[in-house]
């Protein structure tokens, strides 16, 4: 039986067991293995008072030759209750974060070297009380970089609102949307709009719905049939609202009908089975797949291809992009999906936000170049300066928790 196995009942029997185990350790262990020393416990900073950091100096016998198996961590509530084992770390480790403490309670710790089924206990640490802090200063870097990103988006939005002209390059998949809708008009066949299979708590679905708003506007103007099977009830309600408003905007509220959007089933493949059926029976001229897609992407795209529809897809699921890229006429890759609605709106405000997110890319690119160069130069023996730069960049992009 290993030491760790032996400690399980220990938790439950508390003090009595503690003494039984402790005694032989003191009696026969003294001369062979040294316990860890300088056990320090301190409150883990900037959290809700739910963690204590523990550090100690390794036992002199911990030489990495397997003579000791590790350290067993003990904790007692203050005023001194019995010590119970709360965790185990392997040899060579000199710190532990206890995440099972309660705010405001005082604790003391003890660390034991575990070797050959025996425990060799350290001194008891000073008492520590985990506290909740008001502000999480650990996330200061997240805050600053976030402020830069959000700030640049907001800056360019307001910049554009003041009438400054912004250049945005052409995105082929979006230029094709009008053409695809036009084709449905010519052929007198419906348009199929699939907003993915996730619910409204996925931002991809929301992106799909905002695009639906743009598509529905054109559809309402040209009086084309739109068919939108959905797999989530909340998406159904939202989509109906969106399309209805588009028809109102076009001045034809009576042409709108709730039957344009239908809930099928929440089940992924049940939904796909039904959409496939709709495709081969109604033969839509144009299919939009905009939202979160999973395995169904290729089933939809290949079925759409077999009926000769123009297909425009967009998703931020990297695993599905290859299928859409291969089987559809146009594909919005990741970021383009989120940019699409802003792009199509052609409003300065929205276009400004695209310029803003480019600033984020610029930041990432600059940091990557500087960081990689600094790391390389420092690797080649370029000196402390470059090591510091690399370390600094690396640190500000590390999220602590």
């Amino acid at each position: 039986m290993t030491m760790r196995g032996a400690n399980r009942p220990f938790c439950r029997f508390g003090l009595s067991f503690f003494i039984i185990l402790l005694l032989p350790a003191y009696l026969c262990g003294q001369e062979s293995i040294a316990p860890p020393s300088k056990v320090v416990a301190y409150d883990f900073k900037y959290d809700r008072g739910e963690a204590v950091e523990l550090s100690w100096q390794l036992s002199p016998d911990d030489k990495g030759n397997g003579s000791i198996s590790g350290y067993e961590i003990y904790r007692a509530e203050d005023p001194l209750d019995s010590f119970i084992s709360i965790g185990f770390v392997s040899a060579g480790t000199s710190s532990y974060r206890d995440k099972s403490v309660y705010k405001g309670q005082s604790y003391r710790y003890q660390v034991a070297t575990s070797s050959d089924g025996h425990l060799y206990f350290s001194e008891i640490s000073a008492a520590v009380v985990p506290r909740m802090e008001l502000i999480n200063w650990n996330l200061l870097n997240l805050f600053i970089i976030g402020l830069f990103l959000c700030g640049s988006v907001i800056f360019f939005i307001s910049h554009a609102t003041r009438g400054k002209k912004l250049f945005i390059r052409k995105i082929a998949g979006l230029e094709a949307i009008d053409e695809a809708i036009g084709r449905a008009t010519e052929m007198g066949r419906p348009i199929l709009f699939v907003p993915g299979i996730n619910d409204m708590d996925d931002v991809q679905t929301i992106a799909g719905i905002t695009l639906l708003g743009r598509v529905a506007k054109v559809v309402a103007d040209y009086d084309i049939r739109i068919n939108m099977p959905v797999s989530r009830s909340l998406v159904m309600t939202t989509a109906r609202e969106t399309i209805r408003e588009a028809y109102m905007g076009a001045g034809r509220p009576d042409a709108y009908s709730d039957d344009m959007v239908n809930y099928i089933t929440d089940e992924q493949f049940g939904y796909v089975a039904a959409v496939d059926g709709i495709m081969v029976r109604q033969k839509p001229a144009t299919c939009f797949y905009l939202g979160a897609f999973f395995a169904e992407s290729l089933i939809l795209a290949e079925t759409g291809n077999s009926i000769g529809a123009i297909q425009i897809a967009g998703t931020a699921q990297p695993a599905q992009l290859p299928f859409f890229v291969a089987a559809c006429d146009y594909t919005l890759i990741g970021e383009e999906l989120f940019a699409a609605s802003a792009y199509l709106s052609n409003e300065p405000k929205q276009l400004g936000s695209l310029k803003g997110q480019d600033m984020g890319k610029l930041l990432a690119m600059i940091v990557i170049i500087l960081g990689v160069l600094a790391a390389t130069v420092s690797q080649m023996g370029g000196g402390q300066f470059f090591t510091d730069i690399h370390q600094f960049l690396s640190n500000i992009f590390t999220v602590q928790n």
Binding site: T2, R4, G5, R8, C11, R12, E50, G70, I86, F88, R97, K99, S100, N198, D201, D202, E267, Q268, F269, A292, F294, A295, S306, Q317, P318, A319, V399, N401
Partner: protein, 303 residues
Amino acid sequence: MNKWGLIISLTIIAAGLLYLFIKSIRGRDVERRFIFLFMGLAVAVPILFNISFSEKATPIVKAAFDKIENLPPGSKILISFDYDPAMAPEVNPMTDAFVRHAMAKGHRVYFMNLWATGQPMVATAIDRIIKTEFPEKKNGVDYVNLGYKAGGTGVLNVIITDIRKMYLTDVNGINLDSLPIMNGIRSLRDMDLLISVGGGLPGVKEWVLFAGDPGHIPVVGGCAAVSAPLLYPYYPNQLMGLLGGIKGAAEYESELKRKYPRFAETPQPGIKMMGPQTMAHLVIMAFIIFGNISYFVLKSRGE
């Protein structure tokens, strides 16, 4: 039987490929239905004749195996079955292997699901593996099935700080506080390892982003091959190891068999499925080649 099976399958597949080749050389497109039929045959024949190959673990699978192997017995491992029946053939071999390994090593296992449709899978895994191969293991002591909670990443956001805020009872309605295995478990942070097996959303990625990273808890994943490329960026810093698709499962099985002779006779669905899989791969490659031949033949004619 095996030898003849191999010969017959190869003959059938070769005949089909020849037909395709002639068609494509002439620049004709083959009808979809023929492709479908051919594909079906290429998979069916090796299954019927039980053709398989040997496997060796790649580093990323080995890392997953070692992570579980090197935890001291009695460690707390949470296994989440984040998939549905449709995905089961591909990922069930992984959960089977993980459960076998954890049980054989003497770890404590906590089951849960982020997918509603995955709930019955845990029950069958417990029946099929723990109850038959490890009858000495006790529910509530050595393992517990927490069941499914709706909310996906929302669930993770909650249980990373407090499991009992989501789960008051286990799947059988027994209060968590009365289960010995839940002693001292307050949140995911008390786990020694999180294993997520799944292929969609929420899946391994969400476990990394919403549980592993914020809680500093090691995560090992198993996923459908389709999600594997997506998860590579997280290895080895945020994800300790990964089983990608059937091949990953087969490699894990071979490693398990090597380390634990007791599993030599247990079913190895992963290794078994690699036979038809390999055949299917060859056929797909042939399709890509022939598709391009016919494309270039057509193009040279057009110009």
